[in-house]
Symmetry: C2
Subunit: 420 residues, 2 copies
Amino acid sequence: MTATIEVNGRGYRIPQRPVVVICFDGFDPSYLADAAPRGLMPRLVRMMAGGFAATATSAMPSFTNPNNVSIVCGAPPRVHGISGNYWFDRETGRDVMMTDAGPIAAPTILAGLGEAGVAVAAVTAKDKLRRVLGLGLAGAGRSGIAFSAECADTATVGEHGLTAAEALGGRALPDPYSAELSLFVLDAGIDLVARGRARVAYLSLSDYVQHAHAPGAPEADAFLAAVDARIGRLLDLGAVVGVTADHGMTDLALADGRPNVVYLGDLLDARFGVGHARVICPITDPFVRHHGALGGFVRIHLAAGADVEAVRDHVAGLPGVWMALTREEACRRFDLPMAREGDVAVVAVKGVALGMHRGDHRLDDLAGARLRSHGGLAETPVPFVLSHPPAPEPRRAGPLANWDVFDFALNCPAAGEIAS
Amino acid sequence: MTATIEVNGRGYRIPQRPVVVICFDGFDPSYLADAAPRGLMPRLVRMMAGGFAATATSAMPSFTNPNNVSIVCGAPPRVHGISGNYWFDRETGRDVMMTDAGPIAAPTILAGLGEAGVAVAAVTAKDKLRRVLGLGLAGAGRSGIAFSAECADTATVGEHGLTAAEALGGRALPDPYSAELSLFVLDAGIDLVARGRARVAYLSLSDYVQHAHAPGAPEADAFLAAVDARIGRLLDLGAVVGVTADHGMTDLALADGRPNVVYLGDLLDARFGVGHARVICPITDPFVRHHGALGGFVRIHLAAGADVEAVRDHVAGLPGVWMALTREEACRRFDLPMAREGDVAVVAVKGVALGMHRGDHRLDDLAGARLRSHGGLAETPVPFVLSHPPAPEPRRAGPLANWDVFDFALNCPAAGEIAS
């Protein structure tokens, strides 16, 4: 008999062998299409043939925080409340990081498993995300582990569930702007599984490499091969492994390399007057050097008494805009929480970034590199791969979401067996 | 009182002034996003501000013929039967151009207007398409005009409704692989409107420039500006002008410029054995030099007795595949005609082309240029611009389609007024 926990309305079986879910940040399916036939990712390709493979849909907006939280909750942003990295709080009139805005509104699968006595670890690239994913998992009165590669050297048993020495595992602290940040996360996960410290591990990488390098670039190739080798080590340890991504990645540069940006703030000022509309870029986070806070989704907050529908209709007709939706329309269409939605949500067309005002975005930090980013609908398709055949239940209605990955991994028959 | 005709279940008013619809082949919205703020398309931008602008959805697969026919029918491929350029006829076992497969299964708005006594002209870039769009419009017993830039020098009153001299209008016959092919179409349309030979004109361009040049490239800039100047001339003639596209365009090249192609034929042979599955690339047409017959949508035809669902599930998990659908699923989802659908329809992820076998596609014709193409869902968003405010009717349910453009143009209030 296998015990089951229920989290946000779904049942998850307590696994009998290690289960590892990897959120391969920014792993656009075009990388896999190129890498697979060239033999760069032999372990992932073998997983695809022997287990399960599909292209799933990420939560909108296609940013890191909403999707990581959706994955660990097994539920969309409407349920957990994290619908961006950055947020304009209409109550206080201040811009805040959503991860600083208080606890998420839903329990996580990780915390649920920890409460059920399972050894659980969450390792993230960046510390901001660790603080969210670690809620209810590590720290006072909790037995789980949650730490980031960024701050592994300051981990404590009291807050993170392990010492800094254990978190570092003999590795050097990686540069937050490097491929090594993600490889550190995977290596730490391998250690924790190998030493029996984690029965279930969630390993969340950084998209630094994909922001900078297109499919087929030597840097991208080297990174994919390095990730694949580590997936192989987890498989060799007997783990059931699920791999998905928080979002894809699209080249947003013009023929000569300049970014293709539509500055919505300027266009709104010109049409409705300065101060009428405020554009919020929810991709903003403390690490923007590789994308200048430019992505394919923004929110517009309007002055009191504004004609929301007039702004929506105007924005829907602006160049580079795929769709403009009122708060209600956006929440219905994308399963978003009302409290944190703008008055108008704007999705860019493929290949175009939406910005505030010209000058608000530090493009010099790109140092001449092509802008590659995400946030819109063009970056919602993501790989979804499981190392073992999933449960034979009938497919659920609606498209497969990246946040189905814990369901597939924990509930696959192999997870209930002791690895031989 | 204004007379109205009904075509495929929709009513269209007989216009009192010239109405011109331009199918701007391959006009991805990312071109507009870059060109508009740089002032390259002043007339189109003024249309957007004073008339109507949005991003509409093209019919799937996002190829030229299905979308041109959808636009002139005001209806999706399910209604008119043209769901690709190229088609495997399961009755005869032969590959045929859909445009050679007999008349389309629905009447066109152009023919309907012609029958109602309106002077109508269709000018296309390529002659294959002219033959389809001209059905019921020009030729024996018809009063309309239909000719192509490609074959303007062989136009006859009997078949095309005007002489070769009128069709050429003093212009040189353009190279089929050139920007001039499209500009010839627009100039011919301007002539016909100016001379009163057309009250309603449908002008269908070629995507040669966009296949070859990304947004911001000097060649793309020059082309957009040249098209915009011609839109301006049509407006100056008092025309109501609608502009949309048959599909967008996506860069499908890797970091070093090689195309990112998944050869489905090879993968299917490896899994199911040679001869079990036949991959059809419906982008194929007599002009493939600029895309090697590579796009984001293919059809798979299976040997008799094959397990269709097993093939679908296998293909859905292959790298680079966004979705694989059975015939029924594809027709339901994309409003396609059953008779011409494959056993499995396959849509690529953004940035990836689907091919038959390595070697089936002549990539040397690209001459080292980056592959840019279309056919998948990533190329369905297209600009949709009308020079005058549309009818104030409530928005119809569902997303705006490019094939709503004649409805918007003919039924807008300005079309019912005599131009001042």
